[in-house]
């Protein structure tokens, strides 16, 4: 048993090294999502009553598709990070917490993959 206090043991060791990454990634995706969501929301509003062909061409144009894929990556990453914080705050049991975080991450990855496949297919005219 060490006679050093917990504070003395921790002092000078610096941070846990990767604790900042979660926080920072959430900010980076947040900044990216500011222009992307505004652009996408108004694009969908403008297209809301257009026919299939118009929407297909508009969503599938190269720049549109690139922006939507960027939006999807940023949004799902941001969502996964945010949901993790919510689970960590409210779920006491470690096993349930880890399962919830992992399950959400896997589900959000699947949804992101599905929507990227959809956009790619729209863009290349499959």
């Amino acid at each position: 048993m060490s006679l050093r206090s917990p504070l003395g043991q921790a002092k000078g060791l610096g941070s846990a090294k990767e604790g900042l990454h979660h926080w920072w990634a959430q900010r980076v995706t947040a900044v990216a999502l500011i222009p992307l969501t505004i652009w996408f929301a108004f694009k969908v509003a403008v297209l809301s009553m257009s026919d299939y062909k118009t929407v297909l061409e508009c969503i599938g144009s190269p720049w549109s598709a690139a922006l939507i894929v960027s939006l999807i990556v940023a949004a799902f990453y941001h969502a996964a990070l945010g949901m993790q914080v919510i689970y960590e705050d409210y779920i006491g049991g470690k096993a349930v917490r880890i399962a919830a975080i992992m399950g959400t991450n896997l589900l959000l990855f699947l949804l992101a993959a599905a929507s990227i496949i959809a956009v790619v297919r729209i863009a290349v005219g499959g």
Binding site: R27, A30, V31, L33, I34, T37, I38, A41, F42, A45, V46, L47, S48, M49, S50, Y52, V55, L56, I59, I68, A75, F76, A79, G82, M83, I86, T104, L108, L111, A114, S115, I117, A118, V119, R121, I122, G126
Partner: protein, 131 residues
């Protein structure tokens, strides 16, 4: 810890939630709601990729009362989370922590999210009328 008669600090029951605290929990709520709402986005993109028939049925649902109700809630949640998120970024940079500034920016966040929600729906209906 046996004394039952000690004076207690004001409990949550008698604590009036400040506006900033309310917006804070709504930020979290809209965040979780938007995460759930990504399913609508994925579904719509999948319908569009699936061809004219699936796209038309998706559009038909979105144009129904229930579909529009979902989209109204979705758009407000999005713009609220966006506006309040920008305020969070301002806080992260170290600004606007004074009590009156927090109060003022709370109203700016609310006004901005209502304004953008109305704007996007006006745009949607204008383009319907024009088409």
């Amino acid at each position: 810890m046996s004394s039952n008669n000690r004076p207690l600090s004001p409990h949550l029951d008698v604590y009036k939630l400040p506006l900033s605290a309310l917006l804070s929990i709504v930020h979290r709520g809209t965040g979780a709601f938007l995460t759930l709402g990504t399913i609508v986005l994925v579904w719509w993109l999948m319908a569009l990729a699936g061809g004219e028939e699936s796209f038309n049925s998706a559009q038909q649902f979105m144009g129904s009362f229930f579909g529009r109700l979902i989209l109204l809630g979705w758009s407000f949640a999005l713009f609220f989370h966006l506006a309040n998120g920008i305020r969070h970024l301002v806080w992260d940079a170290g600004y606007c922590f004074e009590k009156d500034e927090v109060e003022k920016t709370s109203y700016i966040v609310l006004a901005t999210s209502v304004f953008l929600t109305l704007l996007v729906w006006v745009v949607a209906f204008l383009f319907t009328a024009g088409a």
